[in-house]
């Protein structure tokens, strides 16, 4: 297979840059922005598989993020096992939970799946705010040696892995099947695609990744309330990022995450807190109505126009 250096070189360049970021700067604010962007890339890519490729709008993604985060936190801090094991445990817990929910949930079609997942995350949020009302704080021993660097590299690793996973899904037979399900479920079923199985597999991959991302957050957060891990904002941020960036594309969630974190930081300088959500709400509606592939589509259109015009000038 011929290697397309034009495509690979920029990716390698970006990766090398990202690897060197913590070595160049020790400013915690800059590192935190990068960390959050990478965390959002991993989270939004995980949503992209079920919501973007399979077309099942899951409004309860926070349930799986939270399940992964809380499990990982407990295995790591409260049972005292090594962190990688905790990370895996969190992801497995999220997936098991998805399996438990997924089989009945996919009996619910379309709109019912949306309502069902939304409510599921809400149940978990309420339950955990009630049974674990106190903030989960890292022990002093860990806080004393707390460093952002390992958190940063972990998020980088998982962001890369999540992009790779989405790339693999988009190229695989599974991905083709998912697109068929998204475009027209009945037609897919009629042409021999096992739609239930496809949706379930996509759901499991998606929730496994969400659980891993939750694990990163469990490693990062010095203190948080367990119920807060199930806050709908984890779902909604992922949904906004995917749609504004470009739903069902590989690069979309990456662009969306960068844009989301930057705009959030920028707007918080000038506007009262939370206004970035309103701006993203407006963008979101514009994308749904006029730009079905989000910023990715916009960028391609602009580039085509510029290149098209410049080539005309040359000729």
């Amino acid at each position: 297979m011929a290697v397309d250096w034009k495509k690979i070189l920029p990716i390698v360049g970006i990766l090398i840059f990202l690897i060197f970021v913590p070595l160049v700067t020790s400013r915690t604010d800059v590192l935190t922005w990068f960390f959050l962007t990478l965390l959002y890339i991993a989270l939004s890519q995980s949503w992209n598989i079920i919501g973007g490729f399979a077309g099942q709008v899951n409004l309860g993604h926070a349930a799986f993020f939270g399940a992964g985060a809380l499990t990982a936190r407990y295995i790591w801090l409260h049972f005292g096992l090594p962190f990688p094991l905790a990370l895996l445990g969190g992801a497995v817990a999220a997936t098991l939970f998805a399996m438990l929910i997924g089989l009945p949930a996919f009996r619910l079609k379309g709109i019912y799946f949306v309502i069902g997942t939304l409510v599921l995350a809400e149940i978990l949020r309420l339950v955990f705010y009630t049974i674990l009302p106190e903030a989960d704080v890292m022990p002093m021993k860990l806080l004393g040696t707390y460093s952002l660097n390992p958190r940063y590299y972990l998020s980088l690793l998982f962001a890369v892995l999540s992009v790779a996973a989405v790339y693999w899904v988009s190229r695989s037979r599974l991905g083709m099947g998912l697109l068929a399900v998204r475009e027209d479920e009945e037609a897919a079923e009629a042409s021999g695609v096992n739609t239930q199985k496809h949706k379930l597999v996509a759901f499991l991959i998606s929730t496994f990744m969400a659980g891993l991302t939750g694990g990163i957050y469990a490693y990062y957060g010095a203190a948080f309330r367990p119920g807060g891990l199930f806050e709908p904002v984890w779902t909604f941020d992922a949904v906004i990022i995917v749609f504004v960036g470009g739903v069902g594309t590989i690069i979309g969630p990456i662009i969306g995450s960068v844009f989301f974190v930057l705009l959030k930081q920028f707007l918080s300088l000038y506007l009262p807190g939370g206004m970035h959500v309103a701006v993203f709400g407006v963008l979101f509606i514009i994308v749904v109505l006029f730009l079905p592939e989000g910023l990715v589509e916009l960028i391609t259109k602009v580039r085509h126009r510029l290149l098209g015009e410049s080539s005309q000038i040359v000729s």
Binding site: Y112, V119, I240
Partner: protein, 290 residues
């Protein structure tokens, strides 16, 4: 014991009336247009705040606010529909349902932030002089405000029922619910039916917002919890059944109130669990037909 149970029932019915009122609006828009309006609770929030303004700024009695809030929210709903949802007609059926959900989701992101700027994050309540007053029947305290709220809800639901069954426009609404293509062929202006239905749904939510503002509080982020409540009621009743939605609202209110005695803080989750169970085992709802 009798006193406690009876008192709880009365409280449950009062809360249930609000649930019913907000669910009816959601049920109407979903039944007619197949739009799941996750921003329904936002209209409730806006209604509550407008009543709060009318009450604190010009001292208008909250019950006299009803027509004003109803009209303002009707216009707001109509505008939202015209600007955002009517553009979705160009998509085919499945994409239309999904995209309308997404547009409503976008609205849900925008409304609370605007409310935070206009009214700050403080909890607001509408407190006319008589707000804490109550009277006793057989030792059970009945508040004037909740009782009046219940009456308002019943009158509005009954009015809506008459509107849907007795008027020509109501007939066109029901026709469009059944089959919009056939309705269109019969000469019904489907687009206008959608517009008015959506606006009526918003107005109903706004009126429910006044009642919530009097009995509880209004905050910028109240929309989503109330939308969830309405969704639970909707699924309990069976999607698209308007009369059923009101009764299901009452049932949910009573169940929550009674269960609060036994399981305390888990009451909120209970409603949601009931909801998931119904969704899995009886998706047509308690009052729906197979």
């Amino acid at each position: 014991m009798f006193g406690l149970v009876a008192q709880t029932l009365v409280n449950g019915i009062n809360v249930g009336a609000m649930y019913g009122l907000i669910a009816v609006g959601l049920s109407l828009t979903f039944g007619v247009m197949k739009i799941l309006n996750v921003a329904h609770g936002e209209f409730l929030m806006v209604g509550g705040y407008i009543a709060f303004w009318l009450f604190t700024l010009i001292g208008l009695d909250p019950f006299l606010c009803l027509p004003f809030v109803g009209v303002i929210l009707f216009v707001l709903g109509a505008l939202s529909y015209k600007l955002l949802f009517s553009g979705l007609a160009k998509f085919h059926e499945e994409a239309k349902v999904k995209n309308s959900l997404l547009v409503a989701f976008g609205l849900f992101l925008i409304f609370p932030q605007i409310a935070r700027v206009l009214w700050t994050s403080d909890e607001r309540a509408i407190t006319p002089a008589y707000s804490g007053e109550s009277f006793a029947i057989l030792g059970i305290r009945v508040g004037y405000v909740p009782l009046a709220g219940l009456l308002v809800a019943v009158v509005i639901i009954f009015g809506l029922h008459l509107f849907l069954t007795k008027t020509y426009f109501g007939k066109s609404v029901r026709g469009t619910t059944e089959n919009w293509k056939a309705a269109k062929l019969m000469g019904i202006n489907v687009e206008r039916t959608y517009l008015i239905t959506f606006a009526v749904g918003a107005a109903l939510a706004g009126i429910a917002g006044i009642l919530v503002g009097m009995m509880q509080t209004v905050t910028p982020d109240m929309g989503m919890p109330w939308t969830l409540k309405a969704l639970i009621v909707l699924v309990l009743a069976g999607i698209g059944s308007v009369g059923g939605a009101f009764f299901a609202g009452l049932i949910l209110g009573i169940v929550e109130a009674v269960s609060a005695i036994f399981i305390g803080p888990y009451t909120m989750a209970l409603g949601l669990v009931i909801f998931l169970l119904i969704l899995m085992f009886r998706p047509q709802g308690l009052f729906g037909k197979e």
